[in-house]
C-alpha cells in the first residue's frame, strides 16, 4: 500500500477540524486527538516501510506561482524526524489529558487544535521537498505554536509569546527568507533539495554569505544569541514544553540545519568551501555556556530549557563538521535527545501538577511520595547525559567519533566537559528527591501523591522508549545511513 | 448662540422688496432664457453648446432667486425636479451611446442613427448629447446655488 507524504499533513489537519467540532465534549475531543495521533503514527510507519524499500514517495502541490511550488518528498532524515514527532505525540496526548485536566486549564479546545496544527507543520517540515516548502511550514509551525506559548493570557505569558514570535519571526524573515531567495537567484531558480547540494556552481563568496544567512535564519535551533525564546517559552503549559520545546519546534530547527547542510550546500561544500569554523565554535560555545547557565537555574523547567539549548548545539555541531559521521550523530541525537528530554519535561509537569513545585530546591525527599515520576526522571537524565544503557549513549558516541575524525579533535573535549556539566545539573535532582529528607518546615509530604495516571503512563512509555533505543537503535540508525547514501 | 431665533425677520436674499430689481429682472429673464436656448441649439454653427447654454439658463434661475428669494424660486422650479433632471442629462448622453451600440455601431457612433446620411446623423447625435449636457449643467448649477443659498 502506498501512502503519500501529503496524507501525514492532512491527518492532523482533519484532526484539528474534528477537535474543533467536538470541542464541547471533552472526552470525545480527547478521543479524537488520540485517534488522530495513532492514525498519524500508522501513516508515518507505512511511509517508513516504503522508504526502507528504497522508494521516495513524492507529492507535488499546486503551483503557487512561477517557480514557487509546494513539494513534499520523503527522504530518510526527514522520515526520522517525522517518526520522532509522530511517535511522541501519542504519549504526549495521553499526558496532556492528565495535565490539562489536573490543572483545570482554560481554552483546552484551542490548545488541542493548535497542537494538531503544529504537528501538521512538523510533518510539512519533515517531508519538505524544496526550500520554499520548508520555509512555509517553518513559519506555520511558529504561528501555530504561538497561541500555545501565550496560552494563559497573563501579562507574563503574553510577554513570552512576543519574545517567541519576535525572535523566531525576525530570524526567519530577515535571514532565512533572504537566504532562500538569494540561493534561488544565485543558482538560477532551483530550490529543491538534492543529494550533494544545489549550490555547487555558485560563487564561493556568495556561498559563504548564504551559509551565514541560513545558519542565523534558523532561530529554532536556539544557537546563542538567538536562544532567548526557548527559556521564555517555558511559561507554556508543560505538554507544550514537552512536545514542542523538547521535540517538535527545536528539533525542527536542528533538523532544518541538518537538511540544509546535507541537501542545499552538500557536505563537500560545507567542509571545504564555506568558512564554517565559526559555526562550529559558536555551537561549542553554546554547548558549554548554556550548560553552565543551566547549572544556576533553580526553576526546573528553565534548567531543562537551557539543557535543551545545549543539547541542540550538539546537533548543530554535528552538522557543521560536514562529515558523514557528524550528520549521523546529529540525526541520531534528534531522536535520542527527544525521547530523553520529553521524559524529563513530563516529570517536571507531573511534579507541578501533583506537588505544585517548580523549583529544584523544593524537591528534597519527593522521591518517596512520587517514586515513578522521579524514577523516570532519572532514566531521562541518564539518557541526556549519554550513559548506557540508554539511547543517548549512541548519539554521543557517534558525535564523539565525528569530532575525532575531523580536523578539530579538541571538540571532543567540549563534548566531554559538557557531559560532566550535564551530570552536574541533572543528577542532583533525582538524588535529592530520593536521598535527602523532606524539608521539615514545608507542607506535609504525605499530602503529595503520585501524578495523575495518564501522566504516569506517558512518562513510563517515553522512559521505556529511551531504553529500547539503546538496545535496538537499528531503525534510528538506518534512516540517517540511508540519507547519507550508505557512505559508512 | 449666533443663530437668531427662526421666526424673526432677517434681511437676506429672500427679501423681494426692491422694485427696481424686480422690474429689471422681469425684463431680463425672458431674454436670458431665449439666449440660453439659442446657444443650446445653435452650438454647432456659432460659438457655444450645451455647457454654456446650461450655465446661461441656470443664471436666469439664479437671477430670479436673487431678486425674488430662494423660496419663491423653488416654488417655480422645485428641487424634486432638478434632482431628477441633473442625472437625466447624463442618462440622455450615455443613452445615445447605448442606442448607437444597440444599432450595431460603436459607443457614441452617431453614424448609425442615419446610415444613409452620415453627416446628418452626426449633427443629430451632437444635438442630442448637447441637449443632455445642457440639461445636466443647468440643473446642477441651480442645485449648487440652492444648496449654498439654503444654508
Amino acid at each position: 500500500m502506498t501512502v503519500g507524504p501529503e496524507l501525514a499533513l492532512v491527518i492532523p489537519l482533519v484532526g484539528a477540524v474534528g477537535i474543533g467540532l467536538t470541542g464541547s465534549k471533552p472526552n470525545l475531543r480527547e478521543a479524537v486527538t488520540l485517534l488522530c495521533a495513532a492514525t498519524l503514527l500508522g501513516c508515518v510507519s507505512l511511509i517508513a516501510a516504503q522508504v526502507l524499500q528504497g522508494e521516495h514517495p513524492r507529492w507535488e502541490g499546486p503551483l503557487m506561482g512561477p517557480g514557487l511550488q509546494l513539494v513534499l518528498e520523503v527522504e530518510p532524515l526527514g522520515l526520522l524526524y517525522a517518526m520522532v514527532g509522530a511517535v511522541l505525540w501519542i504519549p504526549n496526548s495521553i499526558y496532556s489529558i492528565g495535565y490539562m485536566r489536573g490543572h483545570h486549564e482554560r481554552n483546552q479546545t484551542r490548545f488541542y487544535i493548535c497542537f494538531a496544527l503544529a504537528l501538521s507543520s512538523v510533518m510539512g517540515i519533515a517531508f519538505s521537498g524544496n526550500l520554499p516548502t520548508l520555509f512555509v511550514f517553518y513559519e506555520t509551525l511558529t504561528l501555530s505554536t504561538f497561541p500555545l506559548i501565550a496560552h494563559h493570557g497573563s501579562p507574563q505569558a503574553k510577554r513570552s509569546g512576543r519574545i517567541y514570535l519576535g525572535i523566531l519571526f525576525s530570524t526567519s524573515m530577515l535571514f532565512l527568507l533572504l537566504g532562500i531567495c538569494w540561493a534561488g537567484v544565485a543558482n538560477g531558480g532551483d530550490l529543491s533539495f538534492k543529494a550533494g547540494g544545489i549550490l555547487g556552481g555558485v560563487d564561493p563568496g556568495v556561498r559563504s554569505v548564504l551559509f551565514v544567512l541560513f545558519v542565523l535564519g534558523i532561530g529554532k535551533a536556539a544557537l546563542m544569541p538567538f536562544h532567548f525564546w526557548l527559556p521564555a517559552a517555558m511559561v507554556a503549559p508543560t505538554p507544550v514544553s514537552a512536545l514542542l520545546h523538547a521535540v517538535a519546534v527545536v528539533k525542527a530547527g536542528v533538523f532544518c540545519m541538518l537538511k540544509i547542510m546535507l541537501y542545499v550546500f552538500g557536505l563537500d561544500v560545507v567542509r571545504d568551501q564555506v568558512h564554517h569554523e565559526w559555526l562550529m565554535s559558536l555551537a561549542a560555545f553554546t554547548i558549554l555556556v548554556s550548560s553552565i547557565v543551566a547549572l544556576n537555574q533553580d526553576n526546573l523547567k528553565a534548567r531543562l530549557a537551557y539543557s535543551t539549548v545545549s543539547q541542540l548545539s550538539y546537533i548543530v555541531l554535528g552538522a557543521s563538521l560536514g562529515s558523514v559521521l557528524g550528520i549521523l550523530g546529529g540525526g541520531l541525537h534528534v531522536a535520542m535527545h527527544a525521547t530523553g528530554k520529553i521524559t524529563l519535561f513530563f516529570c517536571a509537569g507531573a511534579i507541578y501538577v501533583a506537588a505544585g513545585k517548580t523549583k529544584v530546591s523544593q524537591l528534597d525527599g519527593l522521591g518517596r511520595s512520587m517514586p515513578v515520576t522521579m524514577g523516570c526522571f532519572a532514566v531521562g537524565a541518564m539518557s541526556i547525559i549519554g550513559l548506557p544503557p540508554l539511547g543517548g549513549a549512541w548519539s554521543k558516541w557517534y558525535l564523539g567519533l565525528a569530532t575525532l575524525d575531523s580536523a578539530w579533535p579538541w571538540l571532543l573535549a567540549v563534548l566531554m566537559v559538557s557531559s560532566l556539566l550535564n551530570v552536574a545539573y541533572l543528577m542532583p535532582i533525582p538524588i535529592r528527591a530520593f536521598f535527602l529528607p523532606p524539608p521539615s518546615g514545608g507542607p506535609e509530604p504525605s499530602g503529595i501523591q503520585e501524578a495523575p495516571l495518564p501522566c504516569l503512563i506517558a512518562m513510563v512509555i517515553t522512559a521505556i522508549l529511551s531504553l529500547l533505543l539503546f538496545f535496538a537503535p537499528e531503525l534510528a540508525l538506518a534512516l540517517p545511513e540511508l540519507a547519507l547514501g550508505g557512505k559508512l | 448662540m449666533s443663530q437668531p431665533p427662526p421666526q424673526e425677520h432677517r434681511p437676506g436674499f429672500d427679501d423681494a422688496d426692491n422694485v427696481v430689481l424686480t422690474k429689471l429682472a422681469a425684463l431680463l429673464i425672458p431674454f436670458i432664457l431665449i439666449y440660453g436656448f439659442y446657444v443650446q441649439v445653435h452650438g454647432d454653427f456659432g460659438p457655444g453648446g450645451g455647457f454654456q447654454a446650461g450655465v446661461i439658463l441656470a443664471s436666469a434661475y439664479i437671477l430670479y432667486a436673487l431678486v425674488h428669494g430662494v423660496r419663491r424660486a423653488q416654488r417655480l422650479l422645485p428641487r424634486k425636479i432638478t434632482d431628477v433632471t441633473a442625472p437625466l442629462g447624463v442618462v440622455i448622453y450615455a443613452g445615445v451611446g447605448v442606442v448607437t451600440l444597440l444599432q450595431g455601431g460603436h459607443l457614441l457612433d452617431y453614424d448609425v442613427l442615419d446610415p444613409q446620411h452620415t453627416q446628418h446623423a452626426q449633427e443629430w447625435g451632437m444635438f442630442l448629447v448637447e441637449a443632455g449636457v445642457g440639461l445636466t449643467v443647468a440643473s446642477v448649477m441651480a442645485t449648487i446655488f440652492n444648496e449654498i443659498a439654503e444654508q
Partner: protein, 194 residues
C-alpha cells in the same frame, strides 16, 4: 496691441487678487479677471472658450463665491495677516521650482510654428475635417461632441457629480429642517445689529 494691453491688465488684476485683504474685494477682482480673460480669448478668436469663461468664470463662479463668503461670515483675511507678514519661503521655493520646470519644458518647444508637432498631429484633423465629417462649421463643437464625445460624456458626469456632492454634503437633514426652517442666503447675523 489690444492683446498686450489685456495681458498687462490681467497680470495687474492677478497681483491685486493676491494682495487685497478683503475677501469680498478679492472675489470681485476674480470676476474682473475672468472677464479680462474672456476678452483675451475673444481677441484670439477663441469664441467658445471666451463664452465659457464669461458665463462660468465671471458669472456663476462669482455668485457662488459670494454665497460661500456670506455663509462663512464675510471675514477679511485679518486673522491671517499676522502670519503672512513674512515671506513663506517653502511656498516661494515650490512655486519658483514649478515656474522653472514649466519654462524649462517650453524652452525648446517651437511655439507658434505651424509645423510644430501639435499642429501637425491630431489637432490638424480636428481643424480640417469637421466640415467634411459633419457639415458643422464650429469645430469646437464637433471635437467635443463627436471626436472626443467620450470625454464629454464623462465631463457631464463630473458636473452631475458636483451636484450630487452638494446634495449629499450640504443639503440640510429633514430632521434639522423642523427645528431650523431654511432661512435663505443672508448676510452674517452680526451686521444686522450694527
Amino acid at each position: 496691441m489690444i492683446g498686450d494691453a489685456l495681458l498687462l491688465l490681467l497680470v495687474i488684476t492677478a497681483f491685486a487678487v493676491v494682495e487685497v485683504r478683503n475677501l469680498f474685494a478679492a472675489t470681485v477682482l476674480l470676476g474682473i479677471y475672468s472677464l479680462l480673460m474672456a476678452l483675451t480669448w475673444t481677441n484670439m478668436n477663441a469664441y467658445d472658450v471666451a463664452f465659457t469663461e464669461a458665463a462660468v468664470g465671471a458669472g456663476i463662479s462669482t455668485i457662488l463665491l459670494v454665497g460661500a463668503l456670506i455663509l462663512t461670515g464675510d471675514r477679511t483675511v485679518g486673522s491671517r495677516e499676522r502670519e503672512s507678514k513674512g515671506v513663506n519661503w517653502p511656498a516661494l521655493l515650490a512655486v519658483t521650482l514649478l515656474g522653472v520646470a514649466l519654462a524649462y519644458g517650453v524652452y525648446d518647444a517651437p511655439l507658434g510654428d505651424p509645423t510644430a508637432a501639435p499642429h501637425l498631429g491630431v489637432a490638424r484633423y480636428y481643424i480640417q475635417q469637421p466640415i467634411v465629417d459633419a457639415h458643422v462649421p464650429n469645430m469646437v463643437t464637433v471635437t467635443l461632441a463627436s471626436y472626443r464625445g467620450y470625454d464629454t460624456m464623462f465631463e457631464t458626469a463630473v458636473i452631475f457629480t458636483a451636484g450630487a456632492g452638494m446634495i449629499l454634503l450640504l443639503r440640510r437633514d429633514p430632521s434639522d429642517a423642523r427645528t431650523q426652517p431654511p432661512g435663505g442666503l443672508r448676510p452674517a447675523a452680526p451686521r444686522r445689529e450694527s
